[in-house]
């Protein structure tokens, strides 16, 4: 089969779309890690929980999936801040200077509990919402609408977060915490309040990604920790707390994945992505967009 330019363009666009959904799942985790110093292993399980909840709501009420985008993220924002207040904040207050390792252990344990409860309640079977979005046809290309929507969402989320971080006082405070936690504290920044807010935003983004996953792919109780691991790869590639870096790394991974699938075959996609990851880390250990 000849590799005509339209084919290559279509595959690259599909890679960008894949990168969008990968980044959407990772951005919230990156933000939380950067601001709070907490590595929330539960993040992937939030996504699974949101996807499962979307599926159950859709099954029970036959709602248009678009409505789920309005319901689920705010709900997960509330879940996120509740989790921060009840579990993360007491933990951080006891381990002020080193919250990372305890947070990994606690959120890992929580992720396993949620996974088991979810398995018990609804089974560990793939769940997804059947949808009827026609593809977007353009210049001989056919592009999947749910993935286009997810790219739009991740771009909107990235821009909103950028605006929030750069042009609001709370966002500036969050950036100050990312840059120098102790310095921010000495300047009187209310770190617990900012952390709670950021945790809520992170969970809301995971919720949004969960709705997309249940529409584009499927969600399953046991896949949460794997999703967190994939997100961590993107964060390592993009730089901790670097929202734009996470988006760029998602797109790099997505495009590499689809182009390798086209040129060498699907079996080579993951090995090449991982090789690229190692090479990028060796060249730029602080992330692809680091200064």
């Amino acid at each position: 089969m000849t590799l005509d330019p339209t084919l290559i363009l279509e595959v690259i666009i599909n890679g960008v779309l894949l990168g969008g959904i990968l980044a959407l799942a990772a951005i919230g985790l990156s933000l939380v890690l950067g601001v709070t110093g907490v590595l929330n292993i539960m993040h992937g399980q939030f996504l699974v929980l949101a996807g499962t909840l979307s599926y159950l709501i859709h099954l029970a009420l036959k709602l248009n999936p678009i409505i789920l985008f309005i319901i689920i993220p705010p709900l997960f924002f509330l879940i996120g801040i509740s989790l921060e207040r009840s579990l993360i904040r007491p933990l951080v207050s006891r381990t002020q200077s080193t919250p990372l390792l305890p947070s990994i252990l606690v959120t890992f344990g929580l992720a396993l509990i949620v996974q088991d409860v979810l398995t018990f309640a609804v089974g560990d079977v793939a769940k997804g919402i059947p949808t009827h979005f026609p593809p977007l046809k353009f210049q001989g290309l056919q592009l999947p609408m749910p993935k286009l929507l997810s790219l739009f969402s991740v771009l909107t989320a990235t821009l909103s977060l950028w605006f929030f971080l750069v042009h609001t006082s709370t966002g500036n405070a969050a950036r100050a915490i990312i840059q120098d936690r102790e310095g921010a504290m000495l300047c009187g920044i209310d770190i617990p309040r900012i952390s709670m807010l950021i945790f809520g935003i992170g969970a809301a983004l995971a919720g949004l990604a969960g709705v997309y996953y249940s529409i584009i792919y499927t969600v399953q109780a046991s896949m949460g920790i794997t999703l967190t691991m994939i997100a961590l790869i993107l964060i390592a590639l993009g730089g901790v707390g670097n929202i734009l870096g996470t988006l760029v790394s998602g797109i790099i991974v997505g495009v590499t994945h689809t182009v390798v699938e086209l040129l060498l075959g699907a079996a080579w996609s993951l090995p090449v992505v991982l090789l690229l990851f190692i090479a990028a880390l060796l060249a730029r250990p602080r992330g692809v967009l680091s200064e």
Binding site: A126, G128, I233, A266, S269
Partner: protein, 426 residues
């Protein structure tokens, strides 16, 4: 180490630790001392052990089968249990089942436990050839008879394991023969279809089914215009679909052991509005059909479960209806019930035919078994490594229901051709 480097290093270390754990774990779990089986005393129950994939990717294939096995034991015991010659009396049976999480390491751990701690008399195999190939050496080492329930890859029967028999016909063409010969061949003769694209994952079973599809395509005159192997669990098919849209095969033949792969493939076909004349989806299990909903209509695939045609021990419709009620499982919805249940029927029959409960006697009884099961006559063929005789039927899916379309002697519906294009559906 700076704060940022620390944040990069920790996730990496965690990922590495996770991988190392997966590699090291089997060595830790296999440290249980072998050969500790005590001589069998008259038991209060016959213990049959198995793992079932209640979680993980295979849960969508067999996730309720533990309930079926426990309910089966309850019903058999309510009828007095099974007759054991050596004891001259009926004895209750008990299933001891663990969740292998669709994972080879976990499966190995639990088969060790079933043999060395639970001291089972007989084992049933795990789901998939992949898990079977992993647990085979463990079972063979301890010398406990096992019936492979869901192992169709020929590689399983080439291992020379003495203590194992399997219920399935392992020949690569067994899977797709009714579809290719009875459904596709007439369409090829009419000139309606000419080309086929083959996509499969890299599990032993998928490799075998794909090999069979190539042989059968050649036999009926179909040209293979595309073939691609995907990793297990692959969920993004953008590159493959872009190529398929240009090649435009008449038939797409898809075989993946992981239900999430299957769901993603069909959804993405729909997303790019790619409609072949026929879509063969080898494993139309509940874990695929439920997320797809009406998008699964027109798919063609395989099932072993057709109730009411054959019977065998505990295989009459009234018993099966009681089983379905007790387990609270709709049996017809599970294509692999039609292989697990014959394995259970074979287990009961072998235990009743055995001179004693010693492993070698049970094994001898198993190897000499020739019984009727709910999925047809079953025997274990020594010339084929004690593989079995059960073959799947071809079904077409409409509204979540399986309609048998081939082979003709079992067909309950006609094949609806061609596949209705996505953009023509409501």
């Amino acid at each position: 180490m700076g704060r940022r480097e620390f944040y990069v290093a920790v996730p990496l270390a965690l990922s590495l630790g996770f991988l190392l754990g997966v590699v090291i774990h089997p060595f830790l779990v296999s440290t249980t001392l072998p050969g500790l089986q005590t001589p069998l005393k008259p038991p209060v129950e016959i213990r049959i052990g198995a793992t079932v994939s209640l979680t993980g990717p295979f849960a969508g294939d067999v996730g309720v089968f533990d309930k079926i096995m426990h309910s089966f034991a309850d019903l058999v015991n309510r009828r007095g249990g099974i007759f054991i010659k050596e004891l001259g009396q009926r004895v209750p049976i008990k299933f001891i089942i663990y969740d292998d999480a669709s994972d080879t390491v976990t499966a190995i751990k639990f088969y060790e436990k079933l043999i060395t701690e639970d001291k089972v008399h007989l084992l049933l195999g795990p789901f998939s050839s992949k898990l079977t190939l992993a647990v085979g050496p463990v079972v063979e080492k301890h010398g406990v008879p096992i019936i492979w329930t869901a192992a169709q890859a020929p590689a399983v029967y080439r291992q020379g394991w003495k203590y194992a028999v399997g219920v399935l016909d392992e020949r690569p063409t067994a899977w797709g023969e009714p579809y290719f010969v009875n459904v596709l061949a007439p369409l090829v003769e009419k000139g309606d279809i000419k080309t086929i694209a083959l996509i499969h994952d890299d599990t032993p079973h998928s490799l075998s089914v794909n090999e069979g599809a190539k042989i059968l395509s050649e036999r009926i005159g179909l040209k293979v215009v595309f073939e691609e192997k995907i990793p297990f669990g692959h969920t993004d098919f953008s590159g493959i679909l872009a190529k398929l849209r240009r090649i435009k095969p008449d038939i797409i033949h898809f075989k993946a052991d992981s239900p999430p792969s299957g769901v993603a493939f069909v959804r993405q076909l729909k997303e790019v509005n790619l409609s072949p004349k026929a879509l063969y989806f080898a494993e139309p299990v509940p874990g695929v059909l439920e997320p797809l909903g009406r998008d699964a209509d027109y798919l063609v695939g395989a099932t072993y479960t057709v109730l009411g045609v054959f019977q065998g021990p505990f295989g009459d419709l009234s018993f099966l209806a009681e089983l379905a009620k007790t387990a609270n499982v709709e049996l017809e919805r599970w294509p692999w019930f039609g292989i697990y249940y014959p394995a259970m029927q074979a287990a009961i029959s072998a235990l009743e035919a055995s001179d004693s409960l010693k492993p070698d006697d049970i094994l001898r009884a198993l190897k000499n078994l020739h019984i009727m099961t709910i999925s047809g006559p079953l025997r274990f063929d020594e010339a084929r490594g004690f593989a079995g005789t059960l073959r799947p039927l071809t079904v077409q899916i409409f509204n979540g229901k399986y309609l048998v379309i081939a082979p003709p002697e079992f067909a309950k519906a006609s094949y609806v051709h061609p596949f209705k294009p996505w953009d023509a559906r409501g």
